[in-house]
Symmetry: C2
Subunit: 200 residues, 2 copies
């Protein structure tokens, strides 16, 4: 069971059409594009969705309610304190959070063997939360993910619980996390070409 | 490849000996013990390590440096503001963080099919970050994990960046996360018995 993806080539073709569309619409984080292209040039893999990692300011009715969450600011790069304060200034109701998320790449693999080789490469390059996210005949999905993360409550219902000095502190920490995971993405981009198909 | 775990029964025996020792030493979170026992009573699974989820106050030289991190306070339950303030009072150097971590269970599975059935059950019960963590002949490891998490910087090098009112706020949020993941653990405990081996 589940040793390989059925209709892999057909699925990859579909995913590539979706990616081309997203690229044309400017919906792909720019600095992750070369990595996506490298992965998709490999015979046994294709990317389905990805985020190059981000800092954000988010308003949500309660923790975990993604559906009703609103981004007041979102950046796939280091930020300035001013940008974050601007975003915070837009807050009106619900919980206000400052968030850092590591890069996440979802990669379809042709066989379980391909999935495991990508998983082990990613873990070895510092993407320690990488895993196999789902396993079925329809898909064999590797999730590439790193440990950088912040979840900081800033206030609620228009009230701010922290001062500007605190925002400066957490922005500095967040930016150092961004530098760290960008470095890991760079290494992955350099090493991913080594994942050539093995002899049968 | 990797369709099943070699010497599964031998591995399970070893893991069970380790668990007995940990139980005798009082090293297992008490409220997760019934769940571990239920999983281990199943023919095709065994637990290797687990945490029932926790709130903690941690001092670390820099983010992610687990080796040199020190817990100033750690609780596998809801906490009071006083307990957290006591822990914060012990801070002297490095970065000071307030953390919430969801439960994590690592479960060895006999076959990939067993692994996937457990994975899908866990995801269905709200453990949305569950995944297959490693795949080899030596082990097929399912990680059961939920989304609750907080990573809040509180200060550094003896200096506190937030006030007591802020601590009250984040303790309230953390406690609501604890209630949420305890509920999920309870449901998993109720449902896990359904994972009987399938007909070959």
């Amino acid at each position: 069971m589940f040793l390989y993806t059925k209709n892999f080539d057909e699925q990859k073709e579909k995913a590539m059409a979706g990616l081309r569309k997203a690229l044309e619409g400017g919906k792909v984080d720019r600095d992750i594009i070369p990595l996506l292209e490298k992965i998709n040039s490999l015979e046994n893999y294709f990317t389905t969705s990805s985020c190059s990692g981000r800092i954000s300011v988010m308003e949500m009715p309660h923790f975990g309610d993604k559906v009703n969450s609103v981004w007041l600011g979102k950046w796939h790069r280091e930020v300035t304190v001013e940008e974050v304060l601007d975003a915070i200034g837009k807050h009106s109701k619900g919980q206000l959070w400052f968030l850092v998320r590591s890069p996440i790449l979802h990669v379809g693999a042709r066989t379980m063997e391909d999935a495991v080789r990508l998983l082990n490469l990613a873990i070895g390059l510092g993407f320690k939360y990488s895993n196999i996210k789902s396993v079925s005949h329809k898909k064999l999905l590797v999730e590439i993910r790193s440990t950088e993360r912040m979840d900081v409550p800033l206030g609620a219902d228009g009230e701010l619980w922290v001062d500007e000095a605190y925002i400066e502190r957490i922005v500095a920490i967040a930016n150092s996390q961004v530098r760290r995971f960008k470095g890991k993405l760079k290494r992955l981009e350099e090493e991913i070409g080594g994942l050539t198909p093995q002899a049968p």
